[in-house]
Amino acid sequence: MSTTETQLDKCAPSPRAKRVAGMYRSYWLVLLLAVVGLSLVRIATGADDISAANTLRAAILSACPILLAGMGGLWSERAGVVNIGLEGQMLLGTWGAAYFTYHYGPWVGLLGAAAFGAIGGLMHAIATITFGVDHIVSGVAINIIGLGATVFLAEAFFSDLQYGGPRQLTGLDGLPFVTVPGVSDALNNLNDRGWFVISDVAGLLAALTTRISVMTILILVIVILTSWLLWHTPFGLRLRSCGESPAAAESLGVNVYRYKYIAVLVSGSLAGLGGAFLALVAASGFTTNQTGGRGYIGLAAMIFGNWNPFGTLGASLLFGYTDALRLRTPSAVHALLLLVAVGLLAYAAWRFYRGARVAALVLGLLGVGFLLWFLLTDTVPREFTGMTPYVVTLLVLALASQRLRPPAADGQVYRKGSAG
């Protein structure tokens, strides 16, 4: 590249910077449209549940473990290691949280969960980084080990405890909850009024200020910290360079193995913390196989969020929201079909306008399908709501995969010294 070109590049904002700026604008636009749409649907169908503070609080509770798993996936994939073993690492975390909370209190419990998740991460790191085993293969093995280990350890250590049993341990000390005095009441009150948009926003804010677990706050800090560490520090640049082009990174003096190890260990600990959230906050204790596939949903959230912390946050909230609705009135979900239908049709029209005929046609048909579903039925079976994260991820991957950009060397085995 000639010098004049480089100077030109420096003067004008690069196309990528413009695109990023555009992306952030569109995030806010989507959020605004979603709130307005939600509000309209609520008023049109009378399903107050869909933006009630209680529903949103449940949604945040469901989103947290997914988000932690997603953050775990993000750390490791940004360094180029695919971590399918998140599920097994989360399971190890649930056991670690239960054991250490029972004996030393909830704060040590969190550390124990992170440590146990990190053990799973270490196994994955040794196999994939040092020995160059295929990442998927190692992840599958770790999930088998994680499931077996938690069941075995639970039976060995929890059977004889008070409130314990071979498959569970209840009566654990929980983590404290925080309520912002005054503000919370006012917002809850506003939420009950049923005003257009205002009440819906108030519902969200009320959910964030009423009985929120300190761990939820901790998770938000983790998301912000991840974003700062990976995108605004030299450490993060080096770590991400291992995921984009490890050979180039190594030729510039980055110790690729060390950064990959750090990333996978952090990934395992975050997954372990996700397990701790399930055992200590979302439920009243430990049970075996408590994750129920949340490690995989976390992975899906990360992909849906385009390997980006705040994208992952948004995706986790969406998946958590569908999970929360599943447990509430089925009529609320039915109301949402209308929103999905309108959203899909609008998106299809936009894609058609941009020239993507095939995608527009598929989206349009889906939209019509949802509209018919809304008009022809009265309720949605609970089970179908549970499918949402999986179906959404498949659709996003199928229809918008050109907008997704995983790290260039994601999932590839790198051997030290192959930079030449």
Binding site: V82, I84, M123, A127, F131, G132, V133, D134, I136, V137, S138, V140, A141, I142, N143, I144, I145, G146, L147, G148, A149, V151, F152, L153, E155, A156, F157, P166, G293, Y296, L299, A300, I303, P381, E383, F384, G386, M387, Y390, V391, T393, L394, L397, A398, L399, S401
Partner: protein, 364 residues
């Protein structure tokens, strides 16, 4: 390299892996502080199984082997069908519903159900195949998603259309004319070896022939060895991806059929979940080789069947064998990698020796 040496290298990795798995399991037992020691554990596991358990081991082996072949078809060309689990679940449910409805008489009913199972498995895997070939979606992610969707879908359909009895739901019972119990090697209470276990033999031989004697098998292995070389030599990779996904799904559809026609006769609590993931592990253990996977399947079936006796004789949880199995898989892939690296180094050394020798002669 002499053939003896080659066999030695091929056996080296699995032997190391089994040793590591044994060691890791013993350490976990010792660390758990249970009253029974690791020696108790191994003496129970390695004791001679009684007749009932022997039959059980054979039956489990056939199903695990089918699952392993299903996974291996994809693995041989570098395609990760993690969705064997979802494919055989959906296929088993559909086939059980069809066979239970008894629309066709006797043996025809069985054949039709098998075809339906294969078709459903193939379709479910085909979704991932189509997403990969047309939209470039990683089959790992899509099959994981399809696994979860299949589980939810089956749960819903069973709840809606199954027969409720007590707090259990199951599909309609298979008519007696279509039941295929099997061969009784011992007394009646020990149970039969299921007839459809023969499917595993047929599929195993078919897989061997496909791999080693057909153009498709050659293309499959070539694509697995080097995709760029395969493309350069005119192999249509997209078509290969789709076909092997469909084949993989079709075999996955058969996994639970021996148990269904042999003893379960309805889909419900009798359904044995988790075989898909076991199959993946066995495929890795057996290096995706038709013969290697037989040993892997026997080992896994033996371990899980024997572990059930643990509860009677020790205070060790049977789930310990899952750790053994997982560690074995992880250790075997690491060991293969190490052996591969070692062989490359040996080869390089011998080539270097061959090249320097004539040069020295010239210099002399």
């Amino acid at each position: 390299m002499s053939s003896l040496k080659r066999i030695g290298f091929a056996l080296l990795a699995p032997v190391i892996a089994v040793l590591i798995a044994v060691l890791a399991t013993s350490i976990v037992i010792a660390a758990s502080g249970s009253d029974s020691s690791a020696t108790d554990f191994w003496s129970v596991i390695l004791s001679k199984p009684d007749n009932r358990l022997l039959v059980n081991i054979v039956n489990q082996t056939t199903m695990i082997y089918l699952a392993a072949v299903a996974a291996a078809i994809g693995f041989r060309m570098g395609l990760f069908n993690i969705g064997v689990e979802g494919q055989y679940m959906l296929a088993s449910y559909t086939a059980a519903t069809f066979a239970g409805a008894a629309l066709l008489p006797g043996a025809v009913n069985i054949l039709a159900a098998l075809v339906i199972a294969m078709a459903v498995g193939a379709i479910w895997a085909g979704i991932a195949g189509i997403l990969r070939t047309t939209r470039g979606v990683s089959e790992v992610i899509s099959t994981i998603m399809l696994n979860s969707i299949a589980a939810i879908l089956v749960g819903y359909l069973l709840d809606q259309h199954g027969e409720h009895g007590g707090n259990q739901v199951r599909t309609k019972e298979l008519p007696e004319s279509s039941q295929l119990s099997g061969w009784l090697p011992f007394e009646k209470p020990d149970g039969p070896i299921w007839t459809l276990g023969l499917l595993a033999v047929v599929v195993g031989i078919g897989f061997w022939v496909l791999l080693n004697k057909t153009r498709f098998g050659f293309d499959l292995r070539a694509t697995g060895a080097s995709q760029t070389a395969a493309v350069a030599s005119g192999i249509k990779v997209n078509r290969m991806v789709l076909v092997s996904m469909l084949l993989s799904g079709a075999v996955a559809g058969l996994i639970w059929m021996p148990a269904y026609f042999g003893s379960a006769h309805s889909y419900g609590t009798t359904f044995q979940a988790g075989l898909g993931f076991t199959g993946i592990a066995v495929a890795l253990l057996g290096r995706n080789q038709p013969v290697g996977m037989v040993f892997g399947a026997v080992l896994f079936a033996f371990l899980s069947t024997q572990s059930n006796t643990l509860t009677f004789q020790t205070d060790i949880s049977p789930s310990i064998v899952q750790i053994t199995q997982g560690v074995a898989v992880l250790a075997v892939v690491i060991a293969y990698e190490l052996v591969r690296r070692y062989r490359i180094r040996l080869e390089q050394r011998s080539v270097a020796k061959a090249r320097t020798a004539p040069a020295q002669e010239v210099a002399a």
